[in-house]
């Protein structure tokens, strides 16, 4: 029985990455390496106003003074930042005015990924900004959204069209001094999405950015900025894939969210960057800084993430609960297989009175992977009646992987209540036997149990993405049960 399980586990964990194809399209790239001239060139290529160039240069100079953080439970091989290409754009005909002008190769690429850019084929009520390598390829439903005063466009366009908004909010949640990768991103980021929801507007559709790394030897550095004015609402989705390559590629993104009084922002990620092969060759280094601030009273930010891809993940979507009665949420499923490494979690900083946060983290380790939850809950002195509850569970599939939990809990307020619980377990033989006895094959039983284990988090995703995420878990698990 045990043996058979091991074998099935093995089979399940050896599943192929199905988004690993490469699109043969001409790229407009600059040479590899990083210096001030490269940064000037990026800024120039993007036709940026002077303040952007200055912001980039300040960030770059600061980055030079920093060191890669070493505190995570990760084994990161040295990265030669001079060997990377910092700008690569798929070559397209002149500027687009309609979809017909999008390069058919690109359309095909996104179709293959299940992300149709034709609006008539849209995923039920989802507007998409498609980003390939360094630039945004196409944003759908822009006009529909504009009628409500919602701005949804590529970051480059926002810099050109709405410089005041960009200037006001960019770097206000994640300053370029924040950490090594944030500084790097601030210096070289090439595109990303911008979203602005005016006062009192409920965004009628899901907004989504789809990131695709295509070119080789290229780092992807995008940034996303979401501003939700008073009493507005938006739900945002992010997906990502990359071709299979033998070398490691760097992805260092920034996401900033500002929620004003009474606003609610939901941000969901299904992260499926290429994880490398079974032996740990290739794969994306995913070093991402995501942070939201509940600036106004009664505002709410909710992060949901399903992390199955990337060779190494270093990512802590966080909430600064500045206003009174604010709410921060973090729901995460992180699955690592083969030689993947993940160190992910959140930070909840309670500043406002009656601020609440909830953390639900479900780690699943298999193969010879290492999966760590790392999270900070910090209650400042004035955060009266702050409340946090954290539940961080780990599931081990097989005896060669590692599952770790590293919470940091800091309280400086006597009325605050903070609770943290964590358990580590494996799938019980009796559970599998029970399923077998009801006619369910072991492999299906494992998938069933893992999905049940992750359900609390998957339920937080919009419907069609929850289904996708479930499938993804199943595929990512292929070959992994014991």
């Amino acid at each position: 029985m045990q043996k058979e399980q091991d074998q099935i586990l093995n089979e399940v964990t050896t599943g192929e990455y199905k988004y690993g194809f490469y699109t043969d399209i001409e790229h407009d790239s600059i040479g590899k390496g990083l210096n001030e001239d490269v940064i000037r060139l990026i800024s120039e290529k993007k036709n940026e106003p002077e303040f952007m160039l200055q912001f980039r240069l300040k960030a770059y100079r600061h980055w030079l003074t920093m060191k890669m953080p070493g505190w995570a439970h990760l084994d990161i091989p040295p990265i030669d930042y001079q060997e990377l290409v910092y700008y690569s754009a798929p070559k397209q005909k002149a500027r687009l005015s309609s979809l017909d002008e999008v390069d058919p190769e690109l359309l095909e690429t996104f179709n293959k990924l299940g992300i149709p850019l034709e609006e008539q084929k849209h995923l039920a009520g989802v507007a998409v900004d498609a980003v390939m390598d360094s630039v945004s390829v196409k944003t759908t439903f822009k006009e529909t959204l504009a009628e409500l005063g919602i701005i949804f466009c590529s970051f480059s366009e926002a810099v050109r069209e709405y410089p005041d908004l960009v200037r006001q909010y960019m770097g206000s949640v994640v300053p370029y001094t924040d950490n090594y990768y944030a500084a790097l991103n601030s210096a070289v980021f090439s595109d990303g999405s911008f979203c602005y929801i005016p006062k009192g507007v409920r965004c009628p559709m899901e907004l989504s950015t789809y990131f695709r790394i295509n070119a080789a030897n290229t780092g992807q550095f995008e940034r996303t900025l979401i501003v939700a004015e008073d009493n507005s609402y938006v739900s945002y989705l992010e997906g990502c894939t990359a071709p299979m390559r033998d070398e490691n590629q760097l992805h260092a993104a920034i996401v900033e969210i500002v929620a004003m009084e009474g606003a609610e922002v939901k941000y969901a990620t299904v992260q499926n960057w290429y994880p490398g092969n079974k032996e740990g060759k290739g794969g994306i280094y995913n070093f991402v800084t995501k942070r939201g601030i509940c600036k106004g009273d009664n505002s709410k930010i909710s992060w949901t993430q399903v992390e199955t891809g990337s060779a190494i993940t270093w990512k802590y979507p966080s909430c600064i609960l500045k206003g009174d009665n604010t709410t921060g949420e973090f729901y995460s499923v992180a699955l690592t297989n083969n030689r993947q490494q993940a160190d992910t979690g959140t930070k909840m900083i309670h500043i406002g009175k009656n601020s609440k946060s909830i953390i639900v983290s479900k780690g699943i380790s298999s193969g010879v992977s290492n999966n760590s939850y790392r999270g900070l809950v910090k209650v400042l002195r004035g955060a009266e009646n702050a409340r946090n509850f954290s539940q961080c569970d780990s599931l081990l599939l097989g005896d060669k992987c590692g599952a770790h939990t590293f919470p940091y809990i800091e309280s400086n307020n006597q009325s605050a209540i903070i609770e943290h619980e964590a358990t580590t377990s494996r799938i019980g033989e009796d559970q599998i036997f029970y399923c077998n006895q009801r006619g369910i094959a072991t492999e299906d039983a494992i998938s069933l149990i893992v999905n049940g284990y992750a359900k609390e988090v998957l339920n937080k995703l919009p419907m069609e993405f929850a289904v996708e995420a479930q499938k993804l878990l199943q595929i990512s698990l292929e070959g992994s049960v014991g």
Partner: protein
Amino acid sequence: MSTITKNMSLRDQFLNLYRDRAGDISANSAPLLNNYRDGALARLEDLGFPVKGSEEYRYADIESVFKNDLQKDFGDIRVTFNIREIFHCDVPDLDTNLLLLVNGRYYNGSELIRKLPGGIIAGSLAQAAKDYPEIVEKHYGRYAGASDDGLVALNTAFAQDGIFIYVPERVKSEKPIQVVNIMISDNDLMAQHRNLFIAEDGAEAKIVVCDHSLSAHRFLTNSVNEVFTGKGAQINLTRIQNEHNGSSQITHSYSHQEAGSNLTASIISLHGGFIRNNIFVTLNGEHAENHSMGLYLSDKGQYIDNFVHIDHASPNCFSNQLFKGVLDDYASGSFNGRILVRRDAQKTNAYQSNNNILLTDDAKMYSRPQLEIYADDVKCSHGSTMGRLDDNALFYLRSRGIDKREARLMLMFAFAHEVIQNIKVKALQERIDDLVNKRLRGELSRCNNCAMKCG
């Protein structure tokens, strides 16, 4: 008084101090202990002093503790006092074999080693290293030696004496062995002693360590304890920290447990200005069982920091950590507990719990319960809470006519008692209950027999 200049790093200060005083240090110790000094100095040079903000010393400011200019006693300083006059153990009904440690040095006139019934040996570590080198050699530095904490190397380089307890195979020590560790001086003083407790296979021992400070000076202790628990051996170790607020204590405790052994260690921190307890346990044989517990009651500007690391190096072991604390005024505290389950340590059961009550908005607490797990067939869990007294329980007590203040005290006492109830020496348990009760009521405003009024 030393002439150390302030602009030198702490590490270099101590390296220089050693160079200046190497003769005294060796002369007033034992050759066996002296053998380890050079290696330790090289390690210290390499590791340096811990830095605040590092993962290990995230909240503990070691530098500030060392910044005071403290006298070091290498055996050449005489403090004049009559120990019988100033100290008597006030635990009624506690019949123990008493060992005294004064300023890090074994104190008992001419009798440096005591032979107790059953062949138990207890007394000065330096003397034991001369009389029983084969026993000391087998364990000294074996458990703490691999540490990458510069403070452990510092201790190994400078430690001259300490307490040695040896319980031979299958011998059960009838009476608890009590170590009274006293700091008393005419000047501000630093001490670095070294204890070695050995329970051979099947042996049983109850050990009580009481820390006191008896003069109104600044004290700093940087001590290392090594504890060996042989196959099937049982040690029950209780430590009561009750030094005044002008004192700082850094203790590094390394316990090594063989198969089927049981070590239950409790640390009750009643008083002390700065307390850092490093607790490392290695479960090195199957079916070993470890209970590590702590209770801390801190107020004023006290700092309490428990850093616990349980290494499940063998399958089928059990460990449980329970640390609870109440922080009042502007006290701050930290708990860091790690359970490490190694690749082959299947069927591990490991638990960890840290519960804190903050009584004011000026008090701070940091908690880091951690799991690092590399085996799949394990049961591990941890929990950490921070908060206030339970409103429902408070209301229930008040609805029965109990005053709010009294009800709060009852709940705090109950909160603390969960730790105390695990202390197996009955007379001691009752005494600690009493001390904790008084402490919570503010009646233990100064420690027993202490001349110094804290705060």
